[in-house]
């Protein structure tokens, strides 16, 4: 950054420049301070739980045993949601940017943006009162016919409030974020690349495959990471929809599911005091670190895609 600004620092600086660079720097420092503050707060408040003897932690077997199921729940819901949402989101984005007639694409664009603005509690209520119940017959069918796959082992939940439902709700929630951003990236594809591909005799699909997708790949990855961030941290919808009764399981259809970190905190915070509160904050610290890791990974991916030019 500093190497690119010799012209600015060299000449006579005007007051406006100084004020602007001052406020910009202050903003940058502020965000770092806030982040450090949150991290320090979590660490300090979680400290009693991290150092407490194992038998005083909920479950009586220490922090790792307590945290592992909810970390697992967080990851599995987010991963399934991503697997379901990303392909569909990219499809929507491509349709809007390259297939749909202009008028339709604009309307669709607005609708997708609107979806992104629906509050998560609304998704939660919809998920638990409409979606989950309507999925019960499907789950029963899956458990009966595909029960040999461990994922669908069943017995199917009578209320449909399972990991799979949560993942589907999360997928719907992150869909607009990913598709809105991807659409913008796809629209940025240089016209010349597209026309060149067409001129070489490519079909529209081949044009997209060779010109649009490679150009937009890093943007789609960034968009997906934003979506993943929301899926990992989503609290309200998961709390409402998931039947969080503990246990680590890959069985997606039963009533017994691990909670996610955010849901665990939201569920138990109101009645928590002392060490229990520290445990929950420690769980928050883990989620904080997890989101950091995800962001770093995304940065690394994007950088590699662009050949290190970021």
């Amino acid at each position: 950054m500093t190497t690119t600004t010799p012209a600015l620092t060299g000449g006579r600086r005007r007051p406006g420049d100084r004020v602007f660079s001052g406020t910009a720097t202050a903003s940058a420092v502020l965000i770092l301070l806030v982040l450090a503050g949150v991290g320090l707060f979590l660490l300090a408040e979680a400290y009693p739980a991290l150092t407490a003897p194992a038998d005083r932690i909920s479950g009586g077997e220490g922090m790792v045993v307590y945290l592992w199921p909810i970390l697992f729940g967080t990851l599995i819901t987010a991963i399934i949601a991503m697997l379901l949402a990303v392909p569909v989101a990219v499809g929507i984005a491509l349709f809007i940017s390259h297939y749909a007639p202009r008028r339709l694409s604009q309307t669709l664009g607005y609708v997708v943006d609107l979806l992104a603005a629906v509050p998560s509690i609304v998704y939660g209520f919809w998920g638990v009162q409409v979606f989950a119940i309507s999925l019960v017959p499907l789950y029963q069918w899956l458990a009966e016919n595909l029960g040999w796959i461990p994922l669908f082992a069943g017995p199917a939940s009578a209320t449909g409030r399972t990991i799979l439902t949560v993942s589907l709700v999360l997928a719907v929630m992150i869909l607009p974020i990913i598709s809105a951003l991807s659409r913008e990236v796809f629209l940025q594809t240089p016209r010349l690349h597209e026309e060149a591909a067409m001129a070489l005799g490519a079909t529209r699909w081949e044009m997209i495959k060779y010109a649009v997708i490679p150009y937009g790949r890093s943007g789609v990855i960034s968009a997906s990471m934003l979506g993943l961030g929301r899926a990992l941290g989503e609290t309200m919808a998961v709390t409402l929809v998931l039947s969080a009764s503990g246990g680590v399981t890959f069985n997606l259809l039963s009533s017994g599911n691990p909670a996610t970190i955010a849901a665990e905190i939201a569920l138990n915070f109101p009645e928590a005091t002392g060490l229990r509160l520290s445990e929950l904050i420690a769980a928050g610290l883990v989620l904080f670190l997890l989101t950091f890791l995800v962001n770093f990974a995304a940065r690394a991916l994007v950088t590699r895609q662009k050949g290190g030019s970021t």
Binding site: V128, A158, G160, L240, P270, E271
Partner: protein
């Protein structure tokens, strides 16, 4: 095209923010009026002095169990009308309420559990003369179920414990059939619904199971549901919703909510008969139980006799306390708190709560005991 939409969006934004600002200002000025009025001595409520010792105006703050939240909605309005004192109640949860009370953040706490010895010691520092627990809110916990074609399900404590511990997993299990000779029980898996959040309801329910069926229920008395793999839902509303949503579900929830949502409640075996969660049967358990011993003077902590065999008694109840100081540093606050709890436990106050929250009113005996305890609060 793009620039015009941006302009439109900007204009819309400006309008909404202006409207929001106007609203905020309006609510600000509206909010100022009553506080200005009470600052002037509450002169606007001429009837306030008739209410008793606590004079008009002033505010007392409470926080704690969400159990009492619905009742508080009625109590706050009625008490304000009768005495002119403003009462606030923040339903942050029992644990948080006790913490806030002990640290001096609020004037009284609502709690589903009475203060333990450690907290009592802490209260000696917070209050001038220690704190006491007063049971002001009794609510039956219903065993709600959703099973097509089966009415008036009757359960023994052992069968109930087996169902909740997931050792009894089908509705046609002999343990259930035995106590329901007239019902046709379907061959359907049981979905046992429990709270996914830490809860006083869970604690009271497991206390009942632990006392009456220790062989079938081996998890002890806990606030966090201990059995993995059941259907778990957040809060009373979540549990009631989950029971209503599936066929073959059963769970425990506040009786008033069960009734409102049109679910049936199972009858539980007490002695020789099967009893439902009626207000009368729930209130009876308090009178049939003994008080916890070794508590400070005036404290009424109840050691519920869950194993009672007395006729017409429903033992799965939740008792919620209001925790107050015996002596407040500000005598006026003390008087107002005492007047408020006096009102809450009065026949009128209890009736108001029943209408709002559907709980069980406390008995005459308990009312006079609480009244005697409140003498200590006003006395300082």
């Amino acid at each position: 095209m793009r620039s015009s939409t941006t302009r439109a969006a900007r204009a819309a934004l400006a309008t909404t923010s202006a409207a929001a600002l106007a609203l905020a200002l309006a609510s600000c000025s509206a909010g100022n009026e009553p506080s200005g009025g009470s600052g002037g001595g509450g002169g606007s409520t001429p009837g306030s002095s008739a209410g008793g010792a606590a004079g008009g105006g002033g505010t007392i703050n409470g926080a704690g169990a969400s159990t009492q939240q619905a009742a508080f909605q009625a109590w706050i309005v009625n008490f304000q009308e009768a005495q002119g004192t403003t009462v606030t109640y923040d339903p942050v949860g029992s644990g948080d309420g006790r913490t806030q009370f002990l640290s001096g953040g609020v004037d009284f706490a609502g709690s589903d559990a009475y203060l333990d010895d450690e907290e009592l010691a802490e209260a000696d520092g917070r209050c001038t003369d220690g704190a006491i627990d007063l049971p002001v809110y009794v609510s039956p916990i219903a065993i709600a179920y959703n099973l097509e074609g089966v009415e008036d399900l009757q359960l023994t404590p052992a069968a109930l414990a087996g169902i909740m511990a997931q050792t009894i997993t089908n509705w046609n299990d002999p343990a259930i059939a035995e106590s329901n000779p007239d019902a046709t029980l379907p061959d359907l898996p049981i979905t046992a619904v429990n709270r996914s959040d830490d809860s006083g309801t869970t604690e009271n329910f497991t206390e009942y199971l632990d006392a009456t069926a220790p062989d079938a229920w081996t998890y002890g008395v806990v606030e966090t549901w201990p059995v993995e793999g059941g259907e778990a839902a957040q809060g009373t509303a979540g549990v009631v919703g989950a029971i209503g949503a599936g066929n073959g579900t059963i769970g425990y929830a506040d009786a008033s909510q069960v009734e409102i949502n049109g679910l049936s409640s199972a009858l539980i075996q007490v002695g020789e008969e099967y009893v439902g969660p009626t207000p009368e049967a729930a209130a009876a358990i308090l009178d049939n139980s003994s008080r916890v011993e070794g508590r400070p003077e005036g404290d009424i902590a109840i050691d519920l006799d869950r194993t009672t065999a007395a006729a017409g008694t429903y033992p799965i109840v939740l008792v919620s306390y209001q925790i107050v100081c015996k002596g407040y540093e500000d005598a006026e606050v003390g008087e107002q708190v005492a007047a408020f709890v006096e009102y809450v436990t009065s026949e009128e106050g209890q009736q108001a709560a029943v209408e709002q929250a559907g709980n069980a009113p406390i008995s005459e005996t308990l009312r006079s005991d609480i009244s005697a305890s409140l003498e200590l609060v006003t006395g300082s």
